[in-house]
């Protein structure tokens, strides 16, 4: 008996506590997803809108009451989110991969001493500060360069987000490149390739799956960013004509209108539906990353 009590104190107590804490994390995640589905489906269940209308209609006039009858087409926000995120990806990816190559192959010394800490600093800068600089520097600059009345635009959002996801893609790519078998390098140099030939014919192809994971992570971060984008996007309820026009996106719309709508009303539920869509999109990103990781292992 005494042995059991002793054993309980020395082993089982601690063990149970950390097990419970692990379960707490599962419960938190479950309740977040549960509430998002419960609230987000209200648009379709309580207010009888079709998923088709929500995804593909651009008529956004939800009623801020419990009777419903408004229009909940969120296509403008969805297109806005997609455009800005992919533009950010388009800008950031080449620079990120180039920086990763520089840090691993061209000058590891400078990379470790200067770029690595610099990327750490880039990650630490809060998103509102990015947004604030975007608003005070980038937006006027765009207005000036392109001769526009206002600089609020898809381009401004894309550039701000590109800066924010640059460190993510770079550091994941660095890991991927460092994981490339050193034998590949020795073999290609032995065959007489130049460094550049090795980089783009051998190293980059074999690091592709890791780099892709970084790109998806960056995309996920871009998709979920709210306030920095909200500051420079212009919040116009129209599809953008080109990358210089203002529009709106999902996160900015949620951030600006969640506080002004009655909890449980049609307007509010429509915003929750957008949050649910964001959750589903981040599930999809996780799935894609898992598939890429599996494929990468198979190749090895």
């Amino acid at each position: 008996m005494i042995y059991l009590i002793e054993k309980f104190k020395k082993e089982y107590l601690g063990r149970s506590i950390v097990t419970v804490l692990g379960i707490v994390i599962i419960l938190v995640t479950l309740s977040i997803t549960g509430f998002l589905f419960y609230k987000g489906l209200g648009t379709f269940v309580t207010y009888n809108h079709s998923v088709w209308e929500f995804l593909f209609s651009s008529e956004w006039k939800p009623a801020d009451n419990f009777d419903g009858g408004g229009k909940v087409g969120a296509a403008i926000f969805i297109v806005g989110s997609l455009l800005i995120s992919f533009l950010a990806l388009l800008i950031a990816t080449p620079f990120s991969i180039a920086s990763a190559v520089f840090m691993t192959e061209i000058s590891p010394k400078l990379g470790k001493k200067l770029l690595q800490p610099a990327i750490g600093i880039f990650v630490g800068i809060p998103s509102v500060v990015y947004g604030w600089v975007g608003l005070t520097v980038l937006v006027p600059a765009i207005a000036h360069v392109f001769n526009l009345p206002y600089g609020f635009s898809v381009l401004a959002g894309g550039i701000v987000l590109a800066l924010m996801i640059f460190p993510t893609i770079t550091s994941v790519s660095v890991d991927a490149i460092e994981n490339v078998d050193n034998g590949y390098k020795e073999a290609s140099y032995a065959l007489g390739t130049t460094r550049w030939q090795y980089i783009y014919k051998v190293m980059l192809p074999s690091a592709t799956s890791g780099i892709l994971t970084g790109v998806i992570l960056g995309l996920a971060r871009a998709f979920g960013e709210a306030l920095a984008v909200a500051m420079v996007i212009g919040k116009m309820l129209t599809f953008p004509d080109n990358i210089l026009s203002a529009t709106n996106n999902m996160t900015a719309e949620i951030a600006s209108d969640m506080g002004n709508s009655a909890q449980g009303g049609e307007f509010n539920d429509a915003l929750w539906s957008m949050a649910l869509l964001l959750l589903i999109i981040s599930f999809i990103f996780i799935l894609i990353m898992r598939i890429i990781a599996k494929k990468g292992e198979e190749v090895k």
């Binding site: 020395k10 692990g22 998103s127 130049t194 783009y200 599930f283």
Partner: protein, 292 residues
């Protein structure tokens, strides 16, 4: 053949130069970016800006540190505990796999979504007003995945001979974890905690509808149960990051731009000081723990 070889060498040189340029460009960009914020902040300085009055940012600065402190008190035990579980007790199986998916999901959720959840559960369902504690809970949820993964990695990195030695002299698994693994893993865990704190300082979207966008306090009340007191966690309170957002979107203050400039600089300095501190502390602890 010869010219082909020559071309390859030229291409190699050009690529090297371009890569150098890109790396240099980013260093310059970062230097310019930070210098811009700091210089703008210094230029916006005015006497009394740190005051606890409406025109100062003293309250916001206090709220930022206070909120992150509360959130760490909540999230560190849970995150570190769950990390220990993942590293030491979790058997490869369905539950563990499920926990891993949960952590991955949590870490990829947009912070605005966590903010909405926090608003619904901590504010609306409890019938309370915006308060710092709800904000701290939301930030805790955001930092849980980071803390868990860092702890798990740190404990897994402990050399197995340490553990084997401890188990061989008759310690239980749990005693081994607490007395051997945790101390050895501590430098990395602390670095992780500081990283989480840094993120908390800059978080805004999750706090919009949990901690609220304004503060109304009387700095002369020291009773922490008085909702006007600075120390009361159950009062609305905006952090520095949120203050920048609020100044930009709905401020009536005439010199909102200057205050925002200054807030951004203070926030940046706070975060830099923290990450620098974590590096120094991490290196020092590492030396102490590894007995060099």
């Amino acid at each position: 053949m010869k010219s082909e070889h020559k071309n390859a060498i030229v291409a190699d040189k050009i690529a090297t130069v371009i890569l150098y340029c890109i790396a240099g460009f980013f260093l310059l960009l970062l230097a310019g970016f930070t210098a811009y914020i700091i210089v703008k902040g210094i230029m916006a300085y005015q006497p009394g800006i740190f005051s606890f009055e409406r025109t100062g940012i003293g309250v916001e600065l206090f709220n930022t540190v206070y909120l992150v402190l509360i959130s760490l008190i909540i999230s560190v035990p849970i995150g570190v505990g769950a990390g220990i579980y993942m590293a030491e007790y979790a058997k490869a199986g369905k539950v563990t796999n499920y926990l891993r998916i949960c952590i991955e999901t949590l870490s990829s959720l947009p912070s605005i979504v966590i903010g909405l959840f926090g608003y619904l559960v901590f504010i609306y369902m409890t019938g309370s007003k915006y308060n710092l504690f709800a904000g701290a809970l939301a930030v805790s949820i955001l930092s849980l995945p980071l803390l868990t993964t860092v702890t798990e990695d740190a404990i897994r990195a402990v050399p197995s001979i340490y553990k084997e030695g401890s188990l061989a002299v008759g310690a239980t698994h749990w005693q081994t974890i607490v007395q051997i693994c945790l101390p050895v893993a501590m430098p990395r865990i602390i670095t992780g905690i500081i990283l989480a704190a840094g993120r908390g300082f800059g978080e805004a979207a999750a706090l919009l509808y949990t901690a609220g966008m304004s503060s109304n306090v009387n700095p002369n009340i020291w009773n922490p149960f008085d909702p006007m007191s600075l120390l009361c966690p159950f009062r609305p309170g905006d952090t520095l990051a949120l203050h920048i957002w609020a100044l930009k979107t709905e401020s009536m203050t005439p010199n909102a731009d200057q205050i925002a400039d200054f807030s951004a600089a203070v926030l940046l300095v706070l975060i830099f000081a923290f990450s620098l501190g974590s590096r120094i502390l991490g290196a020092r602890l590492d030396r102490k723990m590894s007995g060099k």
